[in-house]
């Protein structure tokens, strides 16, 4: 049992682009639910639109990546408006069901055969990130040591992704401390009171939905760039649940919560998978058990994540950094 390998793999995942992508998605969710009280269960829809919008402009229409990214984010704005204008008046549980359904509608449409000419259908789109890697000013070759050895392009993606995470965190922090943020948080606490002050609460909620959705779209853009392609199987409803898990783990309505949560989420997930792989390669396990564990690490780590979520809600529902008084948000 080599704990160096396990720890190394876990830490690599915790620092990797996936963690940054989930941090961005969770920052968006945090603005939605933590600050504005919007129970968005369709964050993966925003990620999908960001990723596919970018990829379609580049791969299908042969346009520039620098047009593709704004187009993808523009689709996120449009989705937020189309989703929000009719549904924001609904209670939060209805809003949750609508958003999860809307995201799944988008995914089914994107992967359907009539859409194949534009979205690549079940095959997705490839080779979209060349202009992004052309900007890479790092020299060729490998950086780092041991498990933490990255190619020039891998490091480039990570640097850009984590810079975006910092920028988005700062943006949300600034927004929340602004007069706009005070109104939004007040809506979360007591919408009727804010209404009685003459504020157009639906407009504020819509703005929060758009901004958080665009941040989620940015997560999708980074995902498309780091894989240099998109595929509909990366945008199943589960992704939203994982982003929520990261956010809850870190703590709702905190600035560092979504970021630390996403890092920890990937650290734990990869750590468990690595641990099980190491375990099944040890000679001293009974054969039947070793066979059972072989190739099962993905399912086991997600099952353990399920237990973790239940335990977190039972033992520390506010997460690592959250405050208990924020527990009854949006209900």
């Amino acid at each position: 049992m080599d704990f160096d390998i396990i720890f190394g793999n876990a830490a690599r995942a915790g620092l990797g682009p996936q963690a940054a992508i989930f941090a961005l998605a969770a920052i968006g969710l945090n603005l939605h639910f933590g600050y504005a009280g919007l129970l968005n269960f369709g964050q993966v829809g925003f990620m999908m639109l960001g990723a596919y919008g970018t990829a379609i402009v580049v791969a299908t229409w042969g346009g520039s990546l620098w047009l593709g990214i704004p187009f993808g984010l523009g689709l996120c704005v449009a989705f937020a408006l189309a989703l929000g204008i009719p549904t924001l008046r609904l209670r939060s549980d209805y809003f949750a069901i609508t958003t999860i359904a809307a995201a799944e509608i988008l995914r089914l449409l994107i992967r359907s055969s009539p859409a194949t000419d534009i979205t690549g259908g079940p095959f997705g789109l490839q080779a979209i990130a060349n202009s992004f890697f052309d900007l890479n000013f790092l020299p060729d070759g490998r950086f780092g040591w041991g498990t933490f050895s990255y190619s020039s392009n891998q490091l480039w993606v990570m640097i850009v992704a984590w810079i975006l995470v910092v920028l988005c965190s700062a943006l949300v922090l600034a927004l929340i401390r602004s007069p706009w943020g005070r109104v939004v948080r007040a809506i979360r606490e007591d919408e009727d009171a804010v209404l009685s002050l003459g504020k157009n609460t639906v407009a504020y909620k819509l703005q929060a939905l758009v901004i958080g959705g665009v941040i989620g779209g940015l997560a999708g853009v980074i995902d498309a760039l780091q894989q240099s392609g998109v595929g509909s199987e990366n945008f199943e409803p589960q992704v939203t649940f994982f982003a929520w898990a990261a956010l809850i783990l870190g703590g709702l309505a905190t600035t560092v919560g979504p970021v630390v949560g996403a890092v920890l989420f990937w650290f734990l997930r990869e750590g468990v998978e690595s641990f099980i792989r190491e375990l099944s390669e040890q000679g001293w396990l009974p054969n039947a058990l070793a066979d059972f564990l072989d190739g099962a690490e993905g399912a086991i780590s997600i099952a353990l994540m399920g237990i973790g979520l239940v335990a977190l809600m039972a033992l520390r529902p506010q997460g690592i950094f959250g405050r208990r008084r924020n527990l009854h948000l949006g209900t």
Binding site: F33, L39, P86, T87, R89, L90, R91, S92, D93, Y94, A96, I97, T98, I100, A101, A102, E104, I105, L108, L109, R111, S112, S113, P114, P237, Q238, F241, W244, I248, F292, A296, A299, I300, I302, A303, M305, G306, I307, G308, L309, V310, L312, M313, A314, P317, L327, H328, L329, G330, T331
Partner: protein, 426 residues
């Protein structure tokens, strides 16, 4: 209906394929070098002579032409391996002879080095032999009722649990999967029990599992006054856990029950239904009616409706709310498991079936009215109908889009649902 017909065309296709293979074999024996396309044109068993077939390569240049001989055979030598497009010139077909599928006039085929590929241009009457829109619609309505009844049964528990405790149970789909998978273990995998017995056992276990979750996890958490959001997260956690544990033991493949797998269809006018599906529909209808009668007449049923209506008032009038909630969890889980066994029997059993069904169940309960049992029934039927009827006109792979579209539409027009009471949900 279309059964005998499609069987006949399958037999015909197989015969043509075997024949072509045989010809291809003998052709290769004659001049076994080089890549080629070959085939035999037949109409109603008779060879068709004098039909021109041409082949172009990837750049669109014609590389060969042939005219079918008196025995209907044709063969075109190709310049080398690669992808070619072979086109049959329909103008040269004799009077009254057409391609069975007009869209297969041009075939794009890849040939590997040294192989001769048989091509089949199926001749026959045009495809208008297939079922017309009316027949398709009738069949889609029947399928819609079938799936609608199953969705309704699965969704009653989801709706009632929400009505009683305000909880949106994201793990409800896993109860459906649990029922289907347990029945598969009892039936096909380990014990070889008859499906009916296996199903009953599975339903009992799933009901106990639902009750266990409520009794040992959710009731203590309710006592701690967790918010709605925290409960949602708990059920998401349970759903991830249950789904992936089932994946671990059941594996990622689709499986079928042993019993009632292949049956000849009964036909009633435009409807064709296997005895199995007919039985499932009848049983579903009986179970739904029984649930309705229970809710209307039985003491416990009235208590359930009372708690769903107003938990505080019900409790203060002497109803044991915790006991009612436990009963609903057990019964709701059992009904979901029944739905799972039925669904597994109609389609197949796999570890994601319940999760895929979950969004349709959400659509059903919201459409019918969240929190009511009858709403789940009406909503389930409507969702089943919308999903299946859409396949008459739209691609089946996006049929769930229509159901979810109805959900969004319902929320816009009548957010309290068809049977829901007008209350403040905004």
């Amino acid at each position: 209906m279309s059964n005998a017909r499609s069987l006949r065309s399958v037999v015909a296709l197989v015969a043509v394929a075997v024949l072509s293979l045989f010809l291809f074999g003998s052709a290769q024996a004659q001049d076994g070098e080089g890549e080629a396309f070959s085939g035999t044109l037949r109409f109603g068993g008779e060879p068709v002579e004098g039909v021109r077939i041409s082949v172009v390569d990837a750049s669109g240049e014609t590389v060969g032409e042939a005219v079918s001989g008196a025995d209907g055979r044709w063969r075109i030598e190709l310049p080398g391996p690669g992808t070619y497009r072979a086109t049959i010139d329909t103008a040269t077909l004799p009077e009254g002879v057409t391609l069975r599928d007009p869209e297969r006039q041009t075939l794009e085929v890849t040939v590997t080095a040294g192989r001769s590929r048989p091509l089949i241009f199926a001749l026959g009457e045009p495809a208008s032999r297939g079922p017309n829109v009316g027949e398709k619609l009738a069949q889609a309505v029947l399928n819609g009722v079938k799936f609608g009844l199953i969705i309704a049964m699965c969704a009653i528990g989801l709706s009632l649990i929400f009505g009683l405790t305000g909880l949106i149970n994201f793990a409800h789909g896993e109860l459906v999967t649990l029922g289907a998978i347990l029945a598969w273990y009892f039936n096909a995998d380990t014990f070889g029990a008859p499906l009916i017995l296996a199903g009953v056992l599975a339903v009992v276990v799933a009901g106990a599992a639902g009750g266990g979750v409520e009794f040992s996890l959710l009731r203590p958490l309710r006592a701690r006054r967790l918010g709605m959001f925290q409960f949602m997260v708990v059920t998401i956690g349970l759903s991830l856990l249950a789904r992936h544990v089932m994946l671990l033991f059941f594996g990622p493949d689709r499986e079928r029950y042993i019993d009632y797998a292949l049956q000849a269809e009964w036909t009633f006018g435009p409807f064709a239904v296997t005895p199995r599906d007919f039985t499932i529909m009848a049983l579903s209808a009986v179970i739904l009616i029984a649930v309705a009668v229970f809710l209307q007449r039985a003491r416990t049923g009235k208590a359930i409706r009372a708690v769903a209506d107003n938990p505080e008032l019900a409790e203060s009038s002497g109803i044991d709310v915790d006991r009612v909630v436990l009963i609903v969890w057990v019964a709701g889980a059992a009904l979901a498991a029944v739905g799972g066994v039925f669904f597994g029997s109609v389609e197949a059993v796999d570890w994601l079936m319940g999760f895929r069904l979950l969004l349709l169940m959400f659509a059903a309960v919201v459409l019918g009215g969240l929190g009511t049992a009858y709403g789940a029934m009406v909503g389930g039927l409507l969702i089943g109908l919308v999903t299946e009827v859409s396949t008459v006109w739209a691609s089946p792979e996006i049929k769930a889009v229509f159901a979810l579209g109805v959900l969004v539409l319902a929320l816009l027009v009548r957010p309290q649902g068809l049977l829901g009471q007008r209350e403040r949900i905004g």
